[in-house]
């Protein structure tokens, strides 16, 4: 191990920290947007309105059968074309992630909504609440609560997924690590370091999920 120089990590910490901030920020925004859009998709699928539920199901199944990298390529190509002007890599990536993750979140929210007893909907209806009020105040809060561990787990996967913006050179933690690795010629040190950082964050997240689950079970 004499040939290795881990000092390079210390030197480039500020640069890596900027990358990590971008990763976390992208993760956060994509989770929020993904859950919001995913919930709408789930409601559409369960709406009982055939064209609407078919459309939502088609979207979800389409997105779920293509790789995230391809979706990222799609939106890097499409977004500037549709808007007629470039809006920067970050926003293209964010749109790609929200649209992609929404398909996965919608499946989670669908299961969550179905886990709420039919009687709860009846109780809402019986007091004259309308469809949106029942969803907003009765069903979704319970669905959300039941699904929190799975939603967080999906958030951890999403955080790992953000490393794929590497393919379009958006400077997240992964891209930053690989820039340092190449310019300093320290591939081994940098990639091992990246692995450790991702591991610590994701493992902490999964421990948190485990605690949530055991707390919910009691």
């Amino acid at each position: 191990m004499d040939d290795f120089d881990f000092g390079v990590i210390i030197q480039s910490l500020p640069f890596l920290w900027e990358g990590l901030q971008l990763s976390l920020w992208l993760t956060f925004l994509a989770i929020v947007g993904g859950i919001a859009l995913g919930t709408l998709l789930a409601l559409a699928r369960l709406s009982g309105i055939l064209p609407l539920s078919l459309l939502a199901a088609g979207y979800v199944n389409l997105i779920r059968s293509v790789p995230l990298i391809l979706v990222i390529f799609w939106f890097y190509f499409l977004v500037p074309l549709v808007l007629g002007r470039p809006i920067g890599g970050f926003y293209s990536a964010l749109i790609a992630f929200v649209l992609f993750e929404a398909a996965y979140y919608s499946e989670i929210m669908r299961a969550g909504i179905q886990s709420v007893r039919q009687g709860q909907v009846f109780a809402g209806k019986a007091t004259g609440l309308n469809y949106w009020q029942i969803q907003r105040f009765v069903v979704l809060p319970q669905a959300f609560r039941n699904m929190i561990p799975i939603l967080v787990t999906q958030g951890i996967i999403l955080f790992q997924d953000t490393s794929l913006v590497f393919v379009v050179s958006l400077r997240d933690f992964m891209t930053a690590s690989s820039i340092v690795a190449r310019t300093e010629g320290r591939l081994v040190e940098m990639y091992l370091f990246a692995a450790v950082v991702y591991f610590v964050i994701c493992f902490a997240g999964s421990l948190y999920v485990r605690r949530l689950k055991s707390r919910m079970a009691t």
Binding site: G119, Q120, F122, A123, A126, T127, G128, L129, Q142, R145
Partner: protein, 242 residues
Amino acid sequence: MIEIEKISKWYGDFRVLTDCTTSVEKGEVVVVCGPSGSGKSTLIKCVNGLEPVQEGRISVEGQEVTAKSTNLTKLRSRIGMVFQHFELYPHMSVLENLCLAQEKVLKRSRDEAVSRAEELIERVGLSEHLTKFPSQLSGGQQQRVAIARSLAMDPIAMLFDEPTSALDPEMINEVLDVMVGLAKDGMTMMVVTHEMGFARKVADRVIFMDEGAIVEDRETQAFFSNPESDRAKDFLSKILNH
């Protein structure tokens, strides 16, 4: 006040209600009983449109439940309903359970809703539990909260769908007492229940159902002293002889 005329209902090929006709007058208490699977719960859920019917018509105070043009949510807000499994909202405190529809449907102010909730929760004898969550209450207490929640909407009639059948025996009376009080105050009530003591005490009429049809619909006294059909006799002997 509630008119049910020749309603029929199918789940696919399976017929759950057959030509049911009956009515409930203002201030009347009607008990619906019958063996399980006889369609009594389905019938009561049709009254406020929770279950659609394929044939016949139902009207409440002259408003047709079965008509497409009817604003069902508005109609439902005027008919209270109490469920077998309470269906309190588990993520809200007792107070919030009572206030939600008052504020969202009746558009009452927060203060109005809270003071009405406090009034009603006192009436069902649970004032000290206002800030608790449903899971912290016993089954009997939960059902009393559920009754208060319905009353908060100032309903013109109340529907009860087996309100005591999910309760442990020692809790049944606390719920029945609240219901008896309501009946004495002149509330119009339609109650699906097996509690024949309750029926004897407060019901004006008893409807006996079997296999999706109304078999008997008579004055309480007459029903208990002299049931006409063999099926009602059979049912009564099974339910009363232990």
